[in-house]
């Protein structure tokens, strides 16, 4: 039976989210709150509105459609994002596509149709589908049904997760491989950076490793946030078996999304230099952990 879930983006021809050509399905909702998140639209489970003021033609249709009258006399959009229910009435009348919905409820049958359109690309590249987010593991029923259907159709599955869920979720989902984020080893720092303790995250990572699950570990390198964690990470990762460990440089491509979603940005974070990244990779490799730059 089809299971309903909430997603916000389907990106085909992904070449960095697992082996081969992949379709990455981004789930909406996350149980971490990383300071550097470049997909801020993925954090809230609620449907949201994205506003691109450059596209607005000031027709006023959204004002009339919305029960909260979110356009004032000057023509500037004032959105009460707390009251917004994501009903879609305003986006439906915004032909200029200045207001667009972020997050759509879909069911597993419908999503499978989308996934299977690129099956030939998967087959010819040893690729497949990657479920990402947000945190896709917090929609375990939806996710496990998708993984099961993909398996039936011969589509390889990867789950991109931060791992902050009970181990039973991993048992339920049982994807072909995992792309596992490691943000920090120190629990206090972890909580400071992403809002939660990392005990469960590290335990799950170890259990996946011990179970011999195919796994790529991905370490975001965020200057002045987790760059001091490299030695601790190296020590931890020496006890982990992974097919590949990648260092992902922080980038600022997601910054514009904060404004369009009406989300306040934290302090600006700089992007790492090549030298910093090379130094980190060298450290890992010198301490017995094979890490590459993405």
């Amino acid at each position: 039976m089809a299971v309903i879930g909430r997603v916000f983006n389907i990106q085909r021809f992904s070449t960095h989210d697992g082996p081969g050509i992949r379709t990455t399905v981004f789930f909406k909702g996350c149980n971490l709150h990383c300071k550097w998140c470049h997909n801020p639209e993925s954090i809230s489970m609620k449907p949201q509105l994205e506003l691109n003021t450059d596209l607005c033609i000031g027709c006023g249709a959204c004002f009339h459609a919305c029960p909260f009258h979110m356009i004032d006399e000057s023509g500037a959009h004032i959105i009460d994002r707390y009251k917004c229910t994501g009903c879609g009435k305003c986006t439906d009348t915004c032909y200029a596509k200045a207001l667009t919905p972020v997050g759509k409820d879909t069911d597993t049958d419908e999503l499978m149709k989308d996934i299977l359109t690129d099956k030939m690309y998967f087959d010819l590249s040893n690729g497949g589908v990657t479920f990402s987010g947000g945190e896709c593991m917090i929609q375990p029923d939806f996710l496990s049904e998708l993984v099961a259907q993909c398996r039936k159709e011969g589509v390889h599955t990867a789950v991109d997760t931060a791992g902050n869920v009970p181990w039973s979720y991993f048992e339920k989902v049982d994807a072909d491989m995992y792309l596992y984020d490691l943000k920090a080893v120190d629990p206090t720092l972890h909580k400071k950076l992403v809002g939660v303790d990392n005990k469960l995250i590290l335990e799950n990572l170890k259990r996946l490793s011990d179970a011999g699950k195919r796994m790529w570990i991905r370490i975001p390198y965020v200057p002045d946030c987790n760059d001091g964690e490299i030695p601790a990470m190296a020590e931890f990762l020496r006890g982990i078996t992974a097919e590949k460990i990648e260092l992902l440089p922080y980038h600022r491509l997601g910054e514009g999304k904060y404004d369009s979603l009406g989300i306040e940005r934290g302090d600006a974070i700089r992007t790492p230099t090549d030298e910093e990244l090379d130094r980190a990779v060298e450290y890992f490799n010198a301490h017995g952990v094979n890490v590459i730059r993405q």
Binding site: V7, F8, N9, I10, Q11, R12, F13, S14, T15, H16, G20, I21, I57, C59, A61, Y95, A96, K97, T100, K104, T106, K113, D114, T117, D118, M120, Y121, L124, S125, G127
Partner: protein, 723 residues
């Protein structure tokens, strides 16, 4: 097979770099004089002093027919300077095309009936009647005979056939004699330059060029260098006539020479790379490498295929080369081509065998012939030496039938069914009129603008004394390209959704908005524009696109030409002329303004991916694969991919999979640019910052700096729509 990249010694590295720099200098001079242009480089040399005149026998000044044109070409070739470049292994270049100086036209009395011409005036097609070239030479004919042998062959068949009118042979012989005289002049020029040259290597090279050309005046080529020189002669004469640009399957063409001479120890790989680079410097004629043998048993990739790629990479100027892909194509060759494209920004394009070959078999020809069809034009394929397909010169702009269907609906019944019925009626009118024009073309072309150069390198024309447009070759299937598919599909889908389905606007409101060119109706325009457009998965517009494609193919294939029963092969290719075909076209219901460009070939319009499904190359490729016309003629997929996204082996793997998948999904041709956003934006802002940036515009490549603003904008729009 040795698949390693050829390493160049300092001498050959210097020579090829010299050719690159000379090309940049030549291009700079051309841009100073002509400004920008929207074709590829074509290899010509600008000479401000070049001039030519020829006296017509007719009162209206028109020059036509074999005899007159043979004489005109004689004078024109005589007027063309002998070009020799010490960096090149070859001599010769063209300076002008004769049609800029001589009105080689169809006589008014040879035009189709008034009714046909009036239909063309109404629907604005490019009717193909009078179209030139667009057939491919079998260069082996020339290699076996040489210029002297070609002349003897013409003389022999003139005597043997003893036709009442010997114009075919007389004109052709005069052309060949003029060519021989020009080749002799090239030899003389090279001797003269050698005498003054002080560098021993360059002096030796110039002497070799001189001796080679002196031999080739009368005799067939004896080795690879002479064969390539002969090919350059052909390219140059071909351009001088009507800027013909088709060549052949060049790896196979030169492979026998390569095998024989390398075995004998008289030829090295770096010499081959230099010869081929010199050929590319001479001209941008279209050619192909790899692909299946006619019987399908073997991939034709050879060491020559790799050396052709190396020559392209080292020379790094606009070059039009296709790599024919099939499941068993040499994987190393495919990957090498992609590595070079990622390094250089553009490289080969990819002609895909399944759609090209199995599609052609649907025309009633054996699939073996489909395999012989090489990609030798912007988008088009032909069997070198055997086929007259006339692709890429005939376009039926489907947006005009839509316009007239809307006018009919405005005056009559306002329903989707009626609109569709009228659209089909008008489409058939324009297609039928083109077919009638083709009948006339077949009857009269030979006595107006004969294929006086191509005939020499085709199987049949000389033997029969017939122009290849007139039954000179065995295979004749004439193409009509339907263009504007997406413009029409998105328009009808918008009407279906907004008027019929949702009832958000009325027919009257739409007609008012269209009549006003959307002025005062921006909200309605955006409403019509921002539907789920063609390219979005399973969109209603996609269903319309398939229906429009099916009807168009039916209109072409249902009946042959009415008078001479010539089969029509449906194609769908716009070239880069989307602005030209949008000119004068009123606003369309997809939100397009009056005069705006129409869509590219059968591709979704930029920005089609909205909502959940963001842009991806595979999304676009899937859409293009679904709406192929299906009879072997190519409808290309343009991909401009940010090379930063494709770094490393995974990027190459992804592109390999993309190419093979598109082949299996019905695609026929992929034109690929791999650029960084930074490079493209810098070049767009100030083209002089990247004077040697080569991009693939559609089926052809060009210096970005040479393109008109409109064409540069097309490249940038395509790229940015994916960001």
């Amino acid at each position: 097979m040795n698949t390693a990249p050829c390493k160049l010694s300092p001498l050959y590295d210097r020579r090829i770099k010299g050719l690159h720099d000379d090309k940049m200098e030549i291009n700079k001079k051309k841009l100073e004089h002509y400004g920008h242009y929207s074709t590829d480089d074509h290899g010509f040399i600008y000479d401000p002093n070049f001039t030519f005149s020829f006296k017509s026998e007719r009162e209206d000044g028109i020059v036509r027919g074999f005899r007159q044109i043979g004489a005109a070409m004689h004078g024109f070739i005589d007027a063309t300077p002998a070009y020799v470049n010490k960096h090149s292994a070859l001599a010769g270049a063209w300076y002008e095309t004769i049609t800029r100086f001589v009105p080689i036209e169809f006589a008014p009395e040879d035009y189709p009936d008034k009714e046909v011409v009036e239909t063309w005036e109404k629907y604005h097609p490019l009717p193909g009647f009078t179209g030139m070239n667009h057939c491919a030479p079998d260069m082996k004919i020339g290699f076996q005979l040489g210029w002297g042998g070609l002349k003897k062959k013409l003389e022999y068949y003139r005597d043997f056939n003893n036709p009442a009118d010997t114009a075919f042979y007389d004109g052709s012989i005069e052309l060949v004699e003029a060519t021989q005289a020009w080749v002799a002049r090239l030899a003389g020029k090279a001797f003269a330059m050698a005498e003054e040259e002080t560098d021993p290597d360059d002096k030796q090279n110039l002497l070799e060029i001189a001796n080679m050309n002196a031999w080739l005046v009368e005799n067939p080529p004896r080795n690879m260098r002479e064969a390539i020189q002969f090919t350059a002669h052909f390219q140059t004469i071909d351009r001088m006539y009507f800027t013909g640009g088709a060549l052949d399957q060049i790896d196979e063409l030169f492979r026998p020479f390569y095998e024989k001479e390398t075995k004998a120890g008289t030829l090295t790989d770096e010499e081959v790379v230099w010869y081929i680079a010199s050929l590319f410097f001479n001209d941008t004629h279209y050619s192909q490498i790899a692909g299946l043998t006619p019987d399908g048993s073997r991939d034709m990739t050879s060491r020559m295929s790799f050396l052709v790629l190396d020559a392209m990479h080292y020379l790094h100027i606009p070059i039009n080369m296709a790599l024919r892909v099939h499941d068993g194509v040499n994987d190393t060759l495919l990957r090498r081509s992609l590595e070079y494209t990622l390094m250089d920004g553009s490289g080969v394009d990819y002609s895909l065998n399944i759609g090209c070959e199995k599609g052609y078999a649907k025309m009633g020809y054996p699939e073996e012939l489909g395999r012989m069809r090489a990609k030798v034009g912007c988008n088009w394929t032909a069997i070198p030496g055997y086929e007259y397909p006339l692709q890429d010169v005939t376009r039926a702009n489907l947006a005009w039938p839509l316009y007239y269907a809307l006018q009919d609906a405005k005056a009559g019944e306002r329903s989707l069914d009626y609109l569709w019925e009228r659209y089909c009626y008008h489409t058939e009118k324009v297609v039928d009129s083109i077919k009638m024009g083709y009948d006339r073309h077949y009857e009269v072309k030979y006595r107006n603008r004969p294929e006086i150069v191509s005939n020499l390198f085709m199987h049949g024309p000389v033997e029969r004394g017939l122009d290849c447009s007139q039954g000179g070759v065995d295979i004749m299937n004439l193409n009509i390209d339907g263009i504007g598919l997406t413009t029409v599909a998105d328009s009808i889908a918008a009407i279906e959704q907004r008027i019929v389905g949702e009832g958000r606007i009325t027919w009257d409101e739409l007609f008012e908005a269209l009549d006003a060119n959307w002025e005062g109706y921006e909200n309605i325009r955006l409403m019509m524009k921002n539907i789920s457009r063609f390219g979005a998965p399973d969109s209603p517009a996609e269903k319309w696109a398939i229906k429009i494609r099916d009807h168009y193919v039916h209109a072409c294939r249902d009946k042959n030409t009415p008078k001479h029963n010539i089969p029509i092969n449906p194609g769908m290719f716009s070239h880069g002329e989307v602005y030209t075909f949008g000119r004068d076209l009123p606003a369309t219901p997809n939100g397009r303004f009056f005069n705006d460009p129409i869509c590219h070939s059968n591709e979704p319009d930029p920005g089609f991916a909205q909502g959940l499904n963001t842009f991806s190359p595979s999304l676009k490729a899937t859409a293009v694969g679904k709406v192929q016309p299906g009879y072997g003629n190519s409808s290309p997929l343009h991909l401009d991919i940010d090379s930063d996204m494709l770094k490393g082996e995974a990027g190459i793997d992804a592109l390999v999979a993309l190419i093979h998948t598109h082949n299996h999904m019905g695609g026929t041709l992929i034109n690929l640019n791999c650029l960084t956003k930074q490079t493209l934006m810098e070049a767009h802002e100030d083209p002089t910052t990247h004077p040697d940036l080569v991009v693939r515009v559609t089926g052809y490549s060009a210096f970005f700096i040479s393109l008109s603003k409109e064409y540069r904008q097309q490249i940038v729009d395509r790229f940015l729509s994916k960001q």
